[in-house]
């Protein structure tokens, strides 16, 4: 039995992992050789790659169900190995009860959004660029959902971050998308730094980045963590910081509504559905680690709860559809984090899948809001009124004012980060720069500041004609 199944399943697994990579290679390759594809060809190749991956993932699920196989790992060996430094970049993909549903979700939503976008972006100058980024995103999502080692997860995570930030800045001829794209990128950098340190720590503590070593041999979600409580807390906090950046938990929440700058479908699949759940997925993947430390559990669930309450408040006052949906997403992400914190495993997974599907649909039809409101008003037969909730009557007036303002300004998180983190850091670096300049000048014995020679102002045009 196993002899027959084993290669078949592995082939399916490889197809799932590499069909986005093939797509990426195709879309990028033709751009590199300067022969851009037609819209139709791009649409076909997206369709093909996604449906092949989707069908393979479904087939994998069915065959795993049929054979009772609960876990399958694909070893692709060490891609970089420096034995002296005890460093290796180990690529391994795991198909288990967490990753298979997640990867099916990724393929499903990306497929739908891909089909949507080929029509939505028709005749758009950036059509090809969008789909190159889309393929990077898809590849990153598939890699990180299937990752069996922390370094493989990091690799996928980076691809997702890069494509997300570039898609926020998709309309780069305007200032706002670029500014907001940069903000997303900067927050991701903080998350990545935390992740990287965590990955190195894990390697240092366990000698490898393999989740099966870290979490013990048990199948997900079971498993015993091979770290001491203190180590688990340390690694866990770092991973939590990484997840907080990626999933826009407090205090990084400000970037999520700002990310709604790209074309509507990219907002839908990225910030409504998939990449906002990636941080949560990480926490789910290392769930055993969180359970190892009570403190960590408390911190995780508290952060989830705070985020959920904050996002609910901010979401209630938003008067534009995309911000409202962003905060609605964030509320659920916070709740999912809370669920993970209190030790639930399958519920958050179901929650992620359901929530991602719902938000994708809602964001894709966000431009039809006026139509919907019109319909509802007509059905109800009058203007729509919002019932004032019981909470309102309990809260004294000045607190209500305070809360409204707090929510309207989105808790000032962005502004506070700018004022108390970004500016001081920039000042520090500028100061360091000046110090370094001075130091090098002193070293090279230069007396005064020498400016680079300016080109003579009245050079003749002929001087250039050489």
């Amino acid at each position: 039995m196993e002899i027959i199944w084993e290669p078949f399943v592995s082939v399916l697994g490889l197809t799932v992992v590499f069909s986005p990579a093939v797509l990426f290679a195709l879309l990028c390759g033709v751009s590199l050789v300067g022969a851009p594809l037609s819209e139709r060809t791009i649409a076909r190749s997206i369709q093909l790659a996604v449906s092949v991956g989707f069908v393979a993932a479904l087939g994998l699920l069915l065959s795993m169900l049929a054979t009772g196989l609960h876990e399958l790992s694909l070893e692709l060996g060490d891609w970089v190995a420096i034995p002296d430094q005890h460093f290796h970049f180990h690529l391994k993909f795991v198909f288990d009860r967490l990753s298979v549903p997640f990867v099916i979700l990724v393929y499903g939503l990306c497929g739908i959004v891909g089909a949507f976008t080929t029509r939505y972006l028709h005749r758009e100058p950036g059509f090809g660029r969008f789909f190159v980024l889309y393929s990077v995103f898809l590849m990153g999502m598939v890699f990180s959902s299937l990752a069996g080692t922390i370094e493989a997860l990091f690799f996928g995570w980076e691809l997702v971050g890069l494509s997300s930030a570039l898609l926020v800045g998709y309309f780069h001829e305007r200032a706002n998308p670029v500014r907001n794209g940069q903000r997303v990128w900067s927050v991701y950098r903080i998350a990545d730094a935390a992740f990287l340190v965590a990955a190195i720590l894990v390697h240092h503590l366990t000698g490898s980045g393999d989740f099966s070593v870290l979490m013990g041999d048990g199948l997900w979600p079971a498993g015993s963590v091979a770290l001491s409580e203190k180590h688990a807390l340390l690694v866990g906090l770092l991973l939590l910081a990484a997840a907080a950046g990626k999933s826009a938990l407090v205090p990084f929440s400000g970037w999520l509504p700002r990310a709604m700058e790209g074309p509507t479908p990219s907002s839908a699949v990225f910030y409504g559905a998939l990449s906002v759940h990636l941080g949560v997925f990480l926490l789910l993947r290392v769930g055993g680690l969180i359970e190892r430390s009570i403190v960590l559990m408390v911190v995780v669930s508290a952060l989830g709860l705070v985020t959920a309450v904050y996002a609910m408040l901010a979401g209630r006052v938003q008067s534009d559809i995309k911000s409202a949906l962003a905060f609605a997403s964030l509320t659920q992400v916070g709740i999912i984090v809370f669920e993970i914190g209190v030790g639930l495993r399958f519920l958050p997974l179901v929650h992620i899948i359901g929530h991602a599907c719902l938000r994708t649909l809602q964001l894709l039809r966000a431009p039809t809001l006026l139509h919907d409101f019109h319909w509802m008003e007509n059905a109800v037969g009058g203007h729509l009124t919002s019932e004032i909730s019981v909470w309102h009557r309990w809260i004294p007036k000045w607190t209500r004012l305070w809360l409204y303002r707090f929510s309207l300004e989105r808790g000032f998180f962005d502004e506070l980060l700018d004022e108390y983190v970004v500016r001081p850091v920039i000042r520090l670096f500028r100061w360091s720069n000046r110090m370094e300049e001075r130091w090098t000048r002193w070293l090279s014995m230069e007396s005064t500041s020498s400016k680079p020679p300016r080109p003579a102002s009245e050079s003749s045009l002929e001087d250039y004609a050489k």
């Binding site: 005749r123 706002n176 700058e261 609605a328 709740i335 599907c357 994708t360 319909w375």
Partner: protein, 1047 residues
């Protein structure tokens, strides 16, 4: 941080009076400035406006330039776009010549420096793309190419060899032999140039070497000569910035608006929100300024530096009970804005976020039907809030970058003092331009060397005067001229052809079997043409699509009344659609079901974004996959499925409560229903307008066809609806008109007014959805058995015509194959209307360019490519004073010009006048769209709606006499402004004499056709198939084409 508040002495009565007067004046200034704001109101009621309506008192050519300067937008297309059109033959040389000769009127023969005439110089500058640019670009060009040593690529070989030959002769004769001839140039320049070449073996040089020498000499001479000339070198610069933020941004690179934009957008979108947010804005009635102060003064929730400073200021203003006007005055004082520049400063400040400011103004003045209109004075309060935030932000930015002791009122002077290098047109740039021009024109080095200094200076002056803006204007006029002449030619030739054919078949001519009255909308042009092709016995008319029925209308499944008439009319009548009497008893059931469904949907809509509701919907969210997949992959089938279930709650049969009766007579200003006399008046007006007054003209069936458009995921949906219904759907108007015209009492009155409508004529209303080309018939149960045969014939013909019209539309959609069949084309447009992922459900008024006012008899069978508004008008039935025409034009000219000009501007500057691409749009406050997460509100048309447009001013061709139109222009101010200001083009057509007069600068000029004929094809599809781009004119029709051997 200090905020120097103006110290006022309350005891001084005089100063208070002066102060009050100033406050009133401030209010006035702000209201005046408001006219420069975009005039688009809530996006659900989309009315097309001229974006530059506040510049209509100027002529078009001047208005677009000044408007463009104010808004920072293009006046015309970029130059290279016109060049492409020139290369493709869309602009011809003769068009340019004609425009130039008018432009220079008279002095075109005045020569430029003995080289050529002004007109020739300008023509050369238009035809030849001179490579020019800033100094840096030029140096890059020169270093990257061999520009100073070889001819420019575009110079043709004839000119090349001519110049080289002349130069060779000159060099051999005068220079090599050191006998400097008549050259006016210093010898050392030539010597220096020649020193690089060894002339000793010049006789045996290859052609290439001569070319190199020629070009190098040319450059040297031109550069030297230009260096010796004096001319005005200053570049055309934008007027100095009045806003502190602009000055500061330029000086420091730090944008103070970044600090305030978020706060402004968040506050105003919440304040103007019409019911989207779950937590509604409370105590709106206090006014935005007070509410802003209350919110902003909340110190506990002001953690950042900016919010703390704002809170302190807000608290002070709140405690001192400062009004919005006083706050503005104080801010102006702190910013050092004195009275002389008050107005321009206020305009600039309002324009900084013109979408939001405009919406505040519209909500204040023009949107009483919305649930939360803005109170009076909202714009003043907007400005007060904005200026308050602005000065706090400026203070912070100044402290951060400059000197914290610098007061804001001296800021602009303090920064302006710095040496500012004004952009300058350098000698190199000018020399390079002339150098290239000389190559193209064949002016060799010898010729340039012999020019006098004054000649050179006049050449330079000629080039300088004809700058990019002037060139674009000429291109644009030529661009319009070509299409205009083609149109006028087509009208003349087609009318002539019809006459020839009419004479032949005079006796065979049959009366029409039925008549269809459509809206004048240019989208109905293809429908009408196809209908006439499908059934030659049909007759069509065009009339403004509200059919004279100006009403507030509420459908049976609708919650609110909405006006269905042009925006300049305020309806006096309220019309309700009721369920039919036979289904009334079961209606309450359906109403209840609908209400429950609506409430449940609303609850779900809000609920899934809350905490607990969100958890539930999140867990069950996977179900969303089904609608998600279905709607995106199979939009058309999903729509059919939804409609099937929608039928359960849909009222099966309805009727209009059209007639006034005692029981429904409401308050005096809200009159429900029309009296019989009023109905007769409406029907009479409609019939007279289209010239349908004799009893033998009427056929047994007259179809009245209103139109509108429905699409999904399209915030600008209403922009596709009927313009004559004020951006509403004209179906109910068509229905009401038919019902009125069928009323025997109305017919009795009509007969007494001289319009005897035969008893057997029946009017039927229908609604045309221009997006999916569907037709919805009204009141079919009222068609008597005697008329059913003819009705079925009409319905079949109309079904065929709408399918063919859909087919013609599909040639414009790249996602539909050019070889698509008629049936598939209909399916395609049906799918588009239901497709969530379709940003172009239809192209709307795109490509509109013409408006014909006159009898259909001369335009019938002319292929107009869906570009012409067609208004029916019969001059033979009009009175002496042309009062019917006057009434028609009072509506048609402003409405059509508004549509045309909005398309013009949205195309010419898609992000400045239009609202950019639709893809990142974000609906906010249920009022409008923003770009992405937070931005200014974006009024105007999206690029996806206008991308196929040709920006030409609307050309009216009116069948009337010069005296009639002159009188109408002189007595109607709105028409005069548009026509005399050249915001539209006008020509009048005499169908009997086959003569066209163009209205040019207040005078009529006879138009002589340029061509001798237009193509002749059997059917529309023969003409348009296989082609996506704009199409020219053609005569369509079997009757013209000789059949087989007979001919």
């Amino acid at each position: 941080m200090k905020f120097s508040a103006e110290s006022t002495d309350p005891s001084s009565e005089v100063s208070r009076n002066v102060g009050d007067a100033h406050l009133a004046q401030l209010r006035e200034t702000i209201e005046h400035a408001a006219h420069y704001l975009p005039s688009q109101g809530p996006i659900t009621v989309f009315v097309h406006h001229n974006n530059l309506h506040s510049f209509e008192h100027l002529p078009f050519e001047q208005g677009v330039v000044e408007g463009g300067r104010l808004y920072g937008c293009n006046a015309f297309l970029p130059e290279e776009r016109y060049r492409q059109k020139l290369a493709r033959g869309r602009i011809r040389r003769e068009d340019l010549e004609a425009v130039l000769s008018v432009e220079l009127s008279g002095d075109d023969e005045k020569s430029v420096g003995a080289l050529c005439s002004q007109a020739e110089l300008r023509l050369a500058l238009l035809e030849v793309p001179l490579r020019s640019g800033t100094r840096a670009e030029l140096s890059w060009l020169v270093s990257g190419t061999n520009a100073l040593r070889s001819f420019a690529n575009e110079v043709n070989s004839e000119t090349r060899s001519q110049i080289v030959e002349q130069t060779r002769h000159w060099v051999m004769r005068d220079l090599k032999t050191q006998e400097s001839g008549s050259s006016l140039i210093q010898k050392d320049v030539l010597d220096e140039a020649l020193s690089e070449f060894d002339l000793s073996d010049a006789e045996i040089w290859a052609e290439g070497k001569w070319e190199e020498l020629t070009i190098y000499l040319l450059w040297k001479i031109v550069r030297t000569r230009v260096g010796g000339c004096t001319w005005d070198r200053s570049e055309r610069t934008s007027p100095p910035k009045v806003r502190h933020r602009d000055v500061l941004l330029k000086a420091t690179g730090d944008d103070s608006d970044l600090l305030i934009n978020d706060t402004l957008v968040r506050f105003w979108s919440a304040y103007l929100d019409q019911g989207f947010a779950n937590w509604a804005f409370s105590e709106r009635e206090k006014g935005p300024f007070l509410r802003f102060l209350e919110l902003a003064s909340c110190e506990r929730s002001s953690p950042t530096l900016f919010s703390k400073c704002v809170a302190a200021e807000a608290k002070r203003l709140l405690d001192d009970r400062v009004s919005a006007e006083q706050a503005i005055e104080e801010s102006l004082h702190i910013l050092g804005v004195d009275e002389s520049e008050e107005e321009s400063f206020i305009i600039e400040t309002l324009l900084a976020f013109r979408g939001w400011a405009g919406m505040v103004w519209q909500m204040e003045t023009n949107a009483p039907w919305e649930p939360h209109p803005a109170p009076k004075g909202a714009l003043v309060q907007y400005l007060a809030v904005r200026l308050l935030l602005e000065r706090v932000a400026l203070r912070i930015v100044v402290d951060r970058n400059l000197d914290s002791s610098l007061p804001l009122d001296l800021l602009r002077e303090a920064i302006d003092e710095g040496p500012e290098s004004k952009p300058e047109f350098s000698a190199d740039q000018m020399a390079f331009a002339i150098f290239e021009l000389a190559q193209h024109r064949g002016w060799g080095p010898e010729r340039m060397a012999q020019l006098r200094r004054s000649d050179f200076e006049s050449l330079i002056g000629g080039i300088r005067r004809f700058d990019s803006l002037a060139r674009r204007k000429v291109y644009h006029l030529a661009f319009e001229r070509k299409y205009r002449n083609e149109t006028l030619d087509a009208v003349l030739h087609h009318a002539q052809r019809l006459r020839g054919q009419g004479a032949k078949k005079q006796k065979k001519r049959k009366l029409a079997s039925y008549q269809v009255v459509c809206c004048i909308d240019e989208r109905e042009e293809s429908f009408r043409r196809h209908l006439e092709e499908v059934d030659p016995e049909s007759e069509t008319f065009g009339v403004a699509g509200f059919f004279g029925v100006a009403m507030y209308y509420r459908g049976v499944e609708e919650a609110h009344f909405r006006p269905l008439c042009p925006v300049n009319i305020t309806p006096q009548h309220y019309i309700v659609e009721d369920p039919s009497y036979s289904v009334q008893h079961s209606e309450s059931l359906r109403v209840g079901l609908r209400r429950r469904l609506g409430k449940a949907t609303h609850r779900a809509h809000r609920g899934n974004r809350t905490f607990m509701g969100g958890i539930l919907s999140g867990l069950l969210g996977a179900i969303a996959v089904f609608p998600l997949v279905a709607r995106i992959l199979f939009p058309r089938s999903t729509a059919q499925f939804r409609r099937f279930f929608g039928r359960m709650v849909k009222t099966p049969a309805t009727e209009l409560r059209l007639e006034q009766s005692d029981c429904n007579a409401g308050r005096s200003e809200e009159r429900h229903g029309y009296s019989v006399e009023e109905m007769a008046q409406i029907v009479e007006g409609g019939l007279r307008a289209i010239g349908l007054t004799q009893s033998e003209q009427f056929t047994s069936l007259v179809v009245i066809c209103g139109h509108g458009s429905a699409s999904l995921n399209n915030p600008q949906e209403a922009a596709h609806d009927c313009g004559a219904c004020g951006g509403g759907r004209g179906g109910p108007n068509a229905r009401a008109f038919s019902q009125m015209a069928n009323d025997p009492r109305v017919r009795t009155i009509l007969a007494s007014q001289g319009i005897p409508v035969p008893a057997e004529s029946l009017f039927v209303g229908v609604y045309h959805n221009t997006c999916d080309d569907s037709m919805t018939w009204y009141d079919l149960e009222r068609i008597p058995r005697s008329h059913r045969t003819v009705f079925e014939r009409v319905r079949d013909a109309i079904d065929e015509a709408r399918a063919r019209s859909a087919h013609e539309r599909c040639r414009r959609f790249h996602s539909a194959d050019l070889e698509i069949s008629v049936l598939d084309a209909l399916r395609h447009v049906e799918g588009r209307a239901e497709d969530l992922s379709q940003p172009r459900p239809e192209y709307g008024h795109c490509t509109n360019a013409l408006c014909f006012v006159g009898r259909r008899s001369w335009s019938r069978g002319l292929f107009l490519d869906r570009r012409a508004f067609l208004t029916s008008y019969d001059p033979t039935q009009d009175d002496e004073a042309s009062s019917i025409l006057e009434r028609l034009l009072q509506a048609v000219i402003p409405v059509c010009a508004g549509i045309n000009l909005e398309y013009y501007f949205s195309y010419v500057d898609p992000t400045g006048y239009g609202c950019g691409t639709k893809l990142p749009h974000n609906i906010t406050s249920l009022l409008g769209v923003m770009d992405g997460a937070a931005s200014d509100l974006r009024p105007g048309l999206p690029w996806q709606m206008v991308e196929l447009h040709e920006p030409v001013r609307l050309l009216f061709v009116i069948e009337t006499s010069p005296s009639a139109i002159e009188r109408i222009i002189s007595e109607n101010e709105a028409i005069a402004r548009l026509v005399n200001g050249n915001w539209v083009q006008l020509a009048i057509f005499d169908a009997d004499a086959l003569k066209i007069l163009r209205y040019v600068d207040g005078k009529f000029v006879t138009y002589d056709p340029e061509t001798s004929g237009i193509p002749l094809v059997r059917s529309s599809v023969d003409w348009y198939r296989g082609w996506r781009d704009h199409l020219g004119f053609a005569s369509i029709g079997e009757q013209f084409v000789p059949t087989g051997s007979e001919g």
